[in-house]
């Protein structure tokens, strides 16, 4: 089956994407999830994730870690080619890791890799990385792209080792990809892929039905309904994010845990799922989504089973028996979050609390809500990037720069520090679970669900794989041959 590309050499599909790749194409600098999931096909690191969220060898054939967790040795796969035809050498690896760690500029492009003490080329096929202190998550950063040392400007000349090579980019219109014939692993099946930017969510269905796109990742449940009976299969997965009504713990009523708990009791995740995601979401009770099977604790879903009376009495205890008013800030471009907020407004009425929705632009949300923390409550989904528990839980530390909910609990800080400083997997897992329990108990925010993810794929295409992180694996797609 390895040579399907050869069978249908002229195969071409168009995939709709919601945003442009507008933050550049330098793999070490891009941040937008939408860009990273596309570049997943173009660049590879020493390791890469598979669809189960496990790290598998990529440009490194194998690796070894010392017992102290400070030295890692990577053996490179031989004969791997860059898209420009040159061969991947140990020098390229050293160059790329140094660039990420900011060894020349002093400013690491990947913050976590500032921890790297040195990167050395042991021989032509071996690279050794030394860390300043042990880091359980280090390997997940080894998925970052390896680029040729000779490439002066990665921004404009996009040269990676992935199954697809970059052809062109017309801003606001499209990106063209072409399968890479000299790929080291299983080659892509489809020759040409056009990524078409469909920024208006309302026109997605029309474009799909009208035939100007063959596939669109992440459509809503209503769009799924609209596509019923058409040429499209719907693949269902999860978004892998923590959707919650995030409460600003510094804002007056929400500074009282009782009030936060009352809100949690008032919110019915199942009702929200029914309205927002056609009943398909997965309920969550803390800051972890089920894809992290290791840490996900289903029992936390029952901490606050909907109970209006309980909520009211909690409010009374907190001195808000006559309710209060607050506003929910929601970025207007995320329809599911807006819809969630609308349902929450109705649910709040039941406990005598008046909630108002304040729609803002995504950018205003970023700067005012996320950065300045100038809000009362907000509905948003938080994802894990990289795919580590730390990425999800770090932000609840009292002094974390991204602790936008202003959560503050010494108990939590201690648990988190414990988790981060151990290299023992079991101990770490236990500490993380403790963290999640604290978040749930203290009602840091009202956790709702992991949203379902629907992918519309034309019936002529098969092989779509869901990844538990931001990645679209185009190489696994193939055309149905009849």
């Amino acid at each position: 089956t390895g040579d399907k590309a050869a069978e249908t050499p002229a195969s071409h599909i168009t995939i709709g994407i919601p945003q442009d790749l507008d933050d550049g194409l330098d793999p070490h600098k891009v941040n937008a999830a939408g860009t990273r999931e596309i570049l997943f096909n173009v660049y590879e690191g020493l390791l890469k994730y598979n669809e189960n969220g496990e790290l598998i060898p990529a440009l490194a054939e194998k690796y070894e870690a010392d017992a102290d967790g400070l030295t890692y040795t990577f053996s490179l796969r031989q004969g791997v080619k860059f898209h420009d035809g040159s061969t991947v050498t140990a020098d390229d690896v050293v160059y790329s890791l140094n660039r990420l760690a900011g060894k020349e500029t002093g400013e690491p492009l990947e913050g976590a890799l500032a921890n790297i003490a040195s990167v050395e080329k042991t021989d032509d096929k071996t690279v050794t990385v030394k860390l300043t202190e042990p880091d359980a998550d280090f390997l997940s950063y080894m998925t970052d792209a390896i680029i040729p040392a000779s490439n002066a400007d990665p921004e404009t000349s996009v040269i990676g080792t992935g199954p697809y090579k970059f052809v062109s980019h017309t801003p606001q219109e499209s990106v063209e990809l072409e399968s890479f014939d000299d790929y080291w692993g299983e080659k892509a099946h489809i020759k040409n892929i056009t990524l078409k930017i469909i920024s208006n969510a309302d026109s997605i269905v029309m474009e799909l039905k009208g035939g100007s796109a063959d596939m669109f990742c992440r459509i809503t449940d209503t769009q799924v309904k609209e596509l019923e009976g058409s040429d499209f299969n719907i693949e269902k997965g999860t978004m892998n994010l923590v959707q919650a009504l995030y409460l600003n713990n510094k804002y007056e009523p929400f500074s009282d845990p009782k009030v936060r708990q009352a809100i949690c009791y008032a919110i019915d995740p199942q009702e929200i799922m029914d309205y927002v995601s056609g009943g398909d979401g997965t309920e969550i009770g803390s800051a972890m989504f089920p894809a992290f099977g290791k840490y996900y604790d289903e029992s936390l879903n029952d901490t606050y089973n909907t109970d209006i009376e309980k909520a009211k009495s909690l409010l009374k205890e907190a001195g808000y028996e006559n309710g209060f008013e607050f506003s929910i800030t929601v970025p207007s471009n995320y329809q599911p979050h807006v819809a969630t907020a609308e349902v929450i407004v109705e649910e709040m009425k039941k406990i005598g609390v008046t909630a108002k929705i304040n729609l803002v632009e995504w950018d205003t949300w970023l700067s005012e809500t996320y950065s300045e923390r100038n809000y009362e409550a907000t509905v948003i989904g938080v994802d894990a990037s990289p795919l580590t528990a730390r990425a999800l839980l770090d932000r609840y530390k009292s002094d974390a720069h991204n602790n936008f909910v202003n959560f503050s609990s010494p108990e939590y800080d201690a648990a988190l520090t414990a988790a981060l400083s151990t290299t023992d997997d079991a101990a770490q897992t236990a500490s993380y679970k403790q963290c999640l329990e604290i978040l749930s108990k203290e009602a840091a925010s009202a956790y709702i669900q992991d949203l379902p993810c629907y992918v519309a794929i034309n019936k002529k295409i098969t092989g779509y794989k869901f990844y538990p992180l931001y990645a679209q694996d185009f190489a696994s797609l193939s055309l149905v041959t009849e």
């Binding site: 969510a201 309302d202 269905v205 809503t220 209503t222 769009q223 309904k225 609209e226 009702e271 029914d274 309205y275 207007s332 471009n333 329809q335 807006v338 819809a339 907020a341 609308e342 349902v343 407004v345 109705e346 108002k356 929705i357 304040n358 729609l359 803002v360 632009e361 205003t364």
Partner: protein
Amino acid sequence: MKIKSFVKRFFKKYHGFNFVCGLVICGIIFLAAFIAVFHTPYGSTEMNASLKFASPSFAHIFGCDNYGRDIFSRVLEGIRNTFFIALTTVFIGTFAGIVIGAGCGYYGGRLDHVLMRVNDALFAFPSVLLALVIISLLGPSSFNVTIALGIAFIPSFARIVRSEYKKQAALDYVQSAKLMGAGDLRIIFVHILPNILPVLMSSVMIGFNNAVLAEAGLSYLGIGVQPPNASLGRMLSEAQSYIFTAPWYALFPGLMIIIMVLGFSLLSEGISENS
């Protein structure tokens, strides 16, 4: 008795197909807006999962939306909000427009020149961005949207009013009023204003329609009336995603916008025809 004769005179003066149609449509819309303040058949934000996308029926004559909310009630509320926004917008625009335009047109000179240049620059500035700026300053709420739109409307009104004042100021009756000893303010507001009313009326109507459409446009971009409150523009833009599953969701607010705009333009047509 007096009222009756007033009504009689009114209809004697204003008649014709456009006027009557316009008056009837606007009357119904006004009534709907008025009733919606006190009562709608269902709560306009009341959700009901079992009625999601229910098609029009006797209980819900316009059907239900994606939350199972009664579209008819929402349309009523939408008419009220849209009506209020458009009215206030036009009021702000007209009022400021009259003050600026009258001053510039009547006095002329340097000030006129400078103000009109500023006016032109504002005119060339996209109103979406202007609204965005104002809303960022004031925070989003339907009241602030109204203010933002109102301010965005000032330049066009000021321009129209100014040219009308310029025309009127050149007429002899204005000189005659000056000779009588009437002050400038009295001349501007008591003598001239009634004469530009017909032009003003029709631009107020056009302005009203533009306000309805602009509000719809802003809601389409997410900076209009905030959910879960309804406005016709907001409903229309929400409904777009469901055009296949629930075409009625888009149809009714869309029709209402058309009818409302139609009513007002007929009315304005009727008024200018008669005067």
